[in-house]
Amino acid sequence: MRRLFVLALLLGGMQLIFPLGTQGQGGHALLVFGFLVLAAYTVGEIATLVGIPKIVGYLAAGVVFGPSALGTVTTGAAEQLTQVSQLAVALIAFLAGAELRWSEVRERGVLLLKMMSAELTLSFGAVFALLYLGRGWIPFFRDIPDLHALVFSLLFAAVAIVHSPAVTMALISETEARGPVARTTLGVVLLSDVAVVLLFSGVMAAARILVPPSGSAAGPSIGALVWEILGALLVGTVIGLAVALYLRFVHRELMLFAILVAFFGVEITTVTHVEMLLTLLAAGFVAENISRAGEGEALRHAMERSAAPVFVVFFALSGAKIDLGGVAELILFVVPIALVRMGAIWAGTRVGARWAGARGPERRYVWMGLVSQAGVAIGLSSIIAGAYPGVGDALRGLLLALIAVNETVGPILFRRALDVGGETQGSTEVISPSRGPAPVGV
């Protein structure tokens, strides 16, 4: 309550000084950035008090202070803070990669692969079928030819199945969960991140052939797509090796080094045209797995420390980008899609777990960790809008509304999964050794 009062006073103070200042020297962006950190932090703490994950609080703060509501964070200011978001994604990806141990990959790789395959296949099919068969009810799908509806439904489904490594990592960091539900969810999310990039690229390439975008240049070649993925693994491995060398021979100023690695990752992927998330995942994985015991952990801790305010702002900015009006307009279409997607994820993980012979809590609870969506999905929806002005824009609106719903519901569900899986403090269920496998490689 005290913090809310302080926040209100700070907001009042900002309104007082706004007429006196100018935009130069990045002062406005810093002012908004600082306020957003404090606001998101406060709402995040309040969310924790009522049993909701902090990141939902950060998102809520973004919505409240964003352009849709109070307008403290203007669209321009949010754009100025894009670099912070990129930095956050890079840090998240590196940390996520560093969470994976080689021993765990060897031991649980088949399980993860099977769960991911089943889950992605079912959810892709279900969302595609729903949209294509229900096209008569969706305003912008009614009047387009069947082939176009087919292609756009495929594109929509390719984005709708994307998960959120950011939310997964943020919640695992927040709860310090290290059990089978957390690790399996993280593994599936990371693997599926590679798979959906490939799938989306393939669907997009097919879409360009079947429904050529009006007046746009040709899409990326197969070679470029292959480079985007393989190049990411290559660049990521090189970065990971460099990080491991630094940790072994220098091992100082880890906080500055962590930020530099993340910034470097963002920049180098732009220059080399490789997939950023995958690059930093690979970098984190390599660095962690070839470093000596304790070295990688020290870097991870430094990274988590420096990332903390960046995460807060990343999720708050994600919230600020939610268009409340747009979501409200499309809510009637979005809710059935979200429910079907959720159902398909649930069924997919059950099928995948049974296929792999998993009997632990991951069989029952991992689906709850796969509902969240955030940055990657938003990025892919923008690619569709860029390629197909008109229908693509409408499709992006629908996707953003879906992402907004999943972004809000997903973390709550994942937190619940970790609670009932007995992997957080104050969990409602404690797993006995006989009920599930022990955490591996942690």
């Binding site: 990045g26 950190v37 732009t270 903390a308």
Partner: protein, 411 residues
């Protein structure tokens, strides 16, 4: 290749080079580290290699402002009143007198040089001269800290130098912030531009109100990770507010630091968080300062040389006078001012703030003088400090030995 990528590669390369070579050299020759980043920034900046263009350098403005704010808060946390009042008042009187006298002497000397040599009208020379005065006032605690660590014992001179460093920094930051209020270019969308006095009140207001609100906001939070988020938000907000209003972020941030350290129960944790980020931000500041360096004035050698000379003379003279007027000369010695010659990060922060501020006069000359002073004093300040601390230590040791010998003779 993008400017950011170059900067990242250079920082990484510089750090590794510094680790391999400079650290050993610095340790062997008593050099304060940090100057290598400044030099690297100059080398890759638009004025030398041009790897980073002027536009790209400007795009780092928010980070620069954040670094200034963070340094300001750190300066403020040195002023914990409960600890300060345990020390004799004469230490503060000497420090304050030395700082004010240094400021006045250097500002006066520089007005004379700028009007006499550069033929600037008096009104135009006051602003850069006072800015140089404030920069000259700053004494870095690094050299004296290094010497104190090396000699392993505390002498009265070390304590006096540490207090003088803190006080001179506070005086310099305050004077500089007030200078920016006086020369404020106006702007904004109000019907009337605030007067310098009103800008000064706003500057202090941001610091005091911000400090009070952040104190309430942080509460009794003791978990360092959570404190880091809240503290980072507070510093970003305070520095951003000052930069948005085109005021110096240093003074409001310093006031936030003073208020937080004096009102919060968790001051130890607050300091821990701030100090944890000090070195990375210090390096970043050094590098950005180097990148921001420009030289667009032909006749710069005379004012820069005059500044260096005036500063050394003013510091030595005012330290001696301050000690003499307060009766501390027998304890501190005539040459104790040598321990105050280091410049360090805060001087550079002030110089950078001046150089990147709108409508400033002779910005490149003032900044060049600052950089020259920082580079030179980083090389020699530790040796100079040692040259006055070591004899005092020796004297104390000899006195102790003599006392011991006398007592043994009596027995």
């Amino acid at each position: 290749m993008s400017a950011s990528l170059i900067l990242i590669l250079v920082v990484a390369g510089a750090y590794l080079a510094a680790h391999v070579a400079f650290d050993r050299l610095a340790h062997r020759f008593n050099i304060i580290s940090g100057a290598e980043y400044l030099l690297l920034g100059i080398l890759i900046g638009p004025e030398v290699a041009g790897l980073i263009s002027a536009g790209a350098a400007d795009s780092f403005a928010p980070l620069r402002t954040l670094a200034l704010g963070w340094i300001g808060v750190l300066v403020g946390t040195q002023f914990y009143v409960r600890e300060m009042i345990r020390l004799p008042g004469v230490l503060y009187r000497v420090a304050f007198f030395e700082a004010i006298l240094s400021l006045a002497l250097v500002a006066g000397a520089m007005i004379a040089v700028l009007t006499g040599v550069l033929r600037l009208p008096f009104a135009e020379s006051v602003m850069p001269a006072v800015a140089m005065g404030t920069i000259a006032t700053v004494s870095s605690p690094s050299a004296i800290g290094l010497v104190a660590r090396r000699l392993g014992r505390r002498a009265p001179l070390v304590l006096q130098a540490e207090i003088a460093s803190a006080v001179s920094t506070a005086v310099a930051i305050s004077a500089f912030a007030l200078l920016l209020c006086i020369v404020h270019p106006g702007g904004g969308s109000t019907a009337r531009t605030p007067t310098p006095t009103e800008w000064a009140v706003i500057t202090v207001g941001i610091g005091c109100v911000g400090g009070a609100l952040f104190h309430l906001f942080l509460g009794g939070e003791r978990k360092v990770d959570r404190l880091f988020i809240a503290l980072a938000g507070a510093i970003i907000l305070a520095s951003g507010a000052a930069a948005y209003l085109r005021l110096s972020p240093l003074l409001p941030a310093m006031l936030v630091g003073v208020i937080l350290v004096n009102t919060s129960k968790n001051r130890a944790e607050i300091r821990q968080v701030l100090v944890g980020v000090e070195r990375p931000l210090y390096f970043v500041l050094m590098l950005f300062a180097g990148v921001a360096w420009r030289l667009d004035v032909g006749n710069w050698i005379v004012p820069v040389a005059a500044f260096l000379g005036a500063r050394v003379t003013a510091k030595l003279f005012s330290a001696g006078i301050a000690a003499a007027l307060n009766g501390a000369l027998p304890v501190l010695g005539v040459h104790w001012g040598r321990s105050l010659l280091g410049q360090g990060g805060v001087a550079l922060a002030i110089g950078l703030n001046y150089a990147t501020y709108e409508n400033t006069r002779l910005a490149s000359v003032v900044f060049t003088a600052t950089i020259a002073s920082v580079l030179l004093t980083d090389l020699v300040s530790a040796r100079l400090a040692e040259s006055v601390v070591r004899p005092q230590m020796e004297q104390k040791r000899r006195a102790a030995v003599a006392a011991l010998a006398a007592s043994a003779g009596e027995e």
